[in-house]
């Protein structure tokens, strides 16, 4: 037994002693009591059983008060009995230095024990709490998170290590201060707003934003929760996570994504806007997509063809299928001249390149069909050939015309003289002779006129020379043409139907040449309608505009042009008119003029019913006019 324990003696009557012992002895180590002697003043059936006290150090229960009176090591006597004699004896001064506690003592001690027990439990709780706090503190101070506490005035009450390090401040510098100390430049106002809201709403709030931290912009994510004690908001906790890196990563990812998107978009646009015919098919040859180049060249819209077999677009489907099979086998196949059929059954000559694209699983996924429309190139080539031929012919024609015009002028002048003389002084001749000579002179004059028509149109041909660019108002120009042909229109009683599109802007072209084009076309139309008797001539003139060109359609209800003639009408010296009435130059000239102005002309006709010419003139002329076929003499 340790010496700092209080050696105690217990004195009581049987039953009381049992209670006392039970209360004290079992807790004596706690009470720092060392029970060294027990005296039962009145042993009975309720007296304590020593077995109960095994291990407590109590060896025996004496019944003799004298036993304790002889002990010299006693520090305390607890008298649990109402036995006044004993109490008086003990208190009489036998052991004046030993405190004697009265019989109530055990109740006091019981209470003390309960208190002690409660205290012990409290201590345990408090220890756990302390531990938790410690752990929390360790966490708070070591976490890679900025944590702070603010009061309701948004003054700092606490700031963890991480936050101090990040912000470059010491906790003691900012305690009791507001954000103006931490963020002197401002920039945390959004955070203060959310903090205020947290206080007001008493709810946990999340926010993200940018804070200026040590000269750098830091992207953060903040969680704020209110501190509520006894129903009152005392302040708030702030958890700040630096998400800059995450943000930057996100940004980078976003940028990469954007680049990828951009590249994809670019590719799509290239494909979509390419003037080449580009379409995709599945491995069976069914069309998946169809670009605008294809739509333009072939006249079909994407909706028309998606899901249909590509070979249906071809003039020779078998040939395409063969090519397709080769592409599936070899991965690539090329044909230098394949013919598609446009929606209006026009042949479109292309070179085709088919490329197989495998899917991620290595199986054929789709086939890219890239086709270049050669029709225009072939036509341009033909145009150039025609143009060159026109140049040669033009050169010759104007030379010939010149040589013929001079003698013609002489012949005509002399014929006129003879005619005049016959009229004025012909009385000397026999009437028949005079008559036949007059007739002869008249015919001579007529024949000269015929040749003149031809030589002058040959010269007109040479005059297709570019005369000068100017602003053209197409409607005004067409009206001028109708004026020029006023006599012919009136004589043929042709009805003119004007279908002008209003607001066609002026555009730059050669008005003189364009006039020649339309005069020629309208004149032809009038002639064609004259050849179909019994029907009054109706000439429709329609104007249109699209993004790049002005379109003029001239349609007559004349005799029409046979299919096989349609391809030849632009050829030099080709004429459908009776001998002596056409030179076969008009449409050649028209074609040639339009070629050089960067325009085109197309013909469509239903023999016996109508003929339609569609002239296209670009809104902006070619930078350099195409070769002039006529050469200066």
């Amino acid at each position: 037994m340790s010496t700092n324990r209080i050696n105690t003696a217990l004195v009581a009557d049987g039953r009381q002693l049992t209670d006392l012992l039970a209360g004290l002895v079992t807790r004596s180590p706690l009470l720092r009591l060392n029970v060294v002697a027990v005296v039962d003043l009145d042993p009975g059936p309720d007296s304590p059983d020593l077995g109960l006290f095994e291990g407590t150090g109590i060896k025996k229960i004496s019944t003799d008060i004298n036993d304790i009176l002889t002990r010299e090591d006693l520090d305390l006597v607890i008298l649990g009995s109402e036995n006044h004699d004993v109490a008086a004896a003990l208190r009489s001064g036998l052991f004046p230095h030993i405190p004697v506690l009265g019989p109530e003592a055990h109740k006091i001690i019981q209470g003390a024990i309960r208190l002690a027990e409660d205290n012990r439990a409290l201590r345990a709780d408090s220890r756990r709490l302390k531990e938790t706090r410690l752990r929390l503190n360790i966490f708070v101070e070591t976490a890679p998170l900025s944590i702070y506490i603010k009061d309701t005035e948004l003054r700092y009450r606490k700031m963890n290590n991480h936050a101090q390090r990040v912000l470059g401040v010491r906790e003691n510098e900012i305690l009791g201060k507001r954000d103006s100390i931490v963020f002197p430049e401002g920039g945390a106002r959004w955070l203060q707003k959310v903090e205020q809201e947290t206080l007001n709403s008493r709810r946990t709030l999340h926010a993200s934003g940018v804070l200026p931290v040590q000269g750098q912009m830091m992207h953060v994510q903040v969680t704020l929760f209110p501190v509520i004690e006894n129903g009152r908001v005392e302040g708030l906790y702030g958890l700040v996570e630096d998400t800059t890196e995450l943000f930057e990563k996100d940004q980078k990812l976003h940028a990469v994504d954007e680049q990828l998107n951009e590249a994809q978009k670019y590719l799509r646009e290239v494909l979509e806007n390419s003037r080449d015919i580009i379409f995709l098919t599945d491995p069976k040859g069914n069309i998946l997509t169809f670009n605008s180049g294809a739509e333009t060249s072939l006249g079909f819209s994407m909706d028309d063809v998606v899901g249909t077999p590509a070979h249906q677009l071809c003039a020779n489907p078998g040939k395409f299928e063969k090519l397709f099979t080769a592409a599936l086998r070899e991965g690539h196949a090329v044909s230098y001249e394949a013919e598609f059929r446009s929606k209006d059954r026009r042949p479109v000559i292309c070179n085709i390149s088919l490329t197989l694209i495998d899917g991620p699983d290595g199986k054929p996924l789709e086939v890219v069909c890239l086709c270049r429309d050669l029709t225009t190139r072939l036509r341009l080539k033909n145009d150039l050939i025609r143009s060159e031929r026109l140049a040669a012919v033009g050169q010759m024609a104007s030379g010939v015309a010149h040589e013929i015009n001079n003698p013609l002028a002489v012949i005509d002048t002399i014929a006129g003289l003879v005619e005049e003389t016959l009229e004025e002084e012909g009385e000397a001749l026999k009437p028949e002779t005079r008559k036949i000579l007059s007739k002869a002179m008249e015919r001579l004059h007529h024949q000269v006129q015929r040749v003149t028509t031809i030589t002058h149109s040959l010269l007109g041909f040479v005059r297709t020379q570019h005369s000068g660019m100017a602003n053209v108002d197409i409607q005004e120009l067409l009206e001028e043409c109708l004026d020029v042909l006023g006599t012919e229109i009136r004589r043929s009683q042709t009805e003119i139907v004007r279908l002008y599109t209003s607001d066609i802007p002026e555009f730059t072209s050669d008005p003189m040449l364009l006039q020649q084009v339309f005069v020629n076309l309208i004149k032809n139309a009038i002639d064609a309608m004259a050849e179909s008797p019994g029907r009054s001539g109706i000439l429709e003139i329609m104007t249109n505009i699209d993004a790049k060109r002005v379109l003029v359609t001239i349609q007559d209800n004349g005799v029409g042009i046979a299919q096989e003639e349609q391809e030849k009408i632009f050829n030099l010296f080709h004429t459908t008119k009776p001998a002596g009435q056409g030179t076969g130059l008009g449409l050649s000239i028209v074609h040639d003029i339009l070629y050089r102005l960067g325009g085109t002309i197309r013909v469509a006709s239903e023999p016996g019913l109508w003929t339609r010419f569609v002239v296209e003139v670009p809104l902006t002329p070619p930078e350099t006019l195409l070769p002039d076929p006529s050469i200066s003499l």
Partner: protein, 166 residues
Amino acid sequence: MTEDSSKPIRLLIADDEEDLVTFLAHRLRKRGLEVTMALSGAEAVSAGTEIKFDVAIVDLKMPDMDGITVIEQLKNLQPFIEVIMLTGHGSHDSAWEAGRLHAFRYILKPYDFEELHDLVHTAAEHRRRRMQKEFEDKLNELMAGTTSPRDLIEESGKLRSEYEQD
């Protein structure tokens, strides 16, 4: 307008095609015109130094001189002369273009005789009006600039004789 003129129209025809000049001149003389013939550019210019013309019909191309030079020289000699350019082809060379600008009118061979005849009269009338207008302009100028009545009478007399002589 064409027939009322008291004085006959003085016309120069210049073309290297002799048949043309001969017969055209003959027919126009029959219509009362005073015609001088020239078979080359040089002849035309030398005629211009000797005789006053109202109108000249000039071929665009003559072997010795191109029509544009002839027109220029004639206009130098006689500022009021009106030139009708005659051409065998609607060629587009610079001479033709320039000729178009200098000439009163150009016509293609073979021409319509009546049209040509009318055109000569129109040109002559045009010349007369131009002269009259210029005379009046100069007279107005004179009246505005001259204070002494004697000077005015003297100067205007000179002016009148200058234009009437033409």
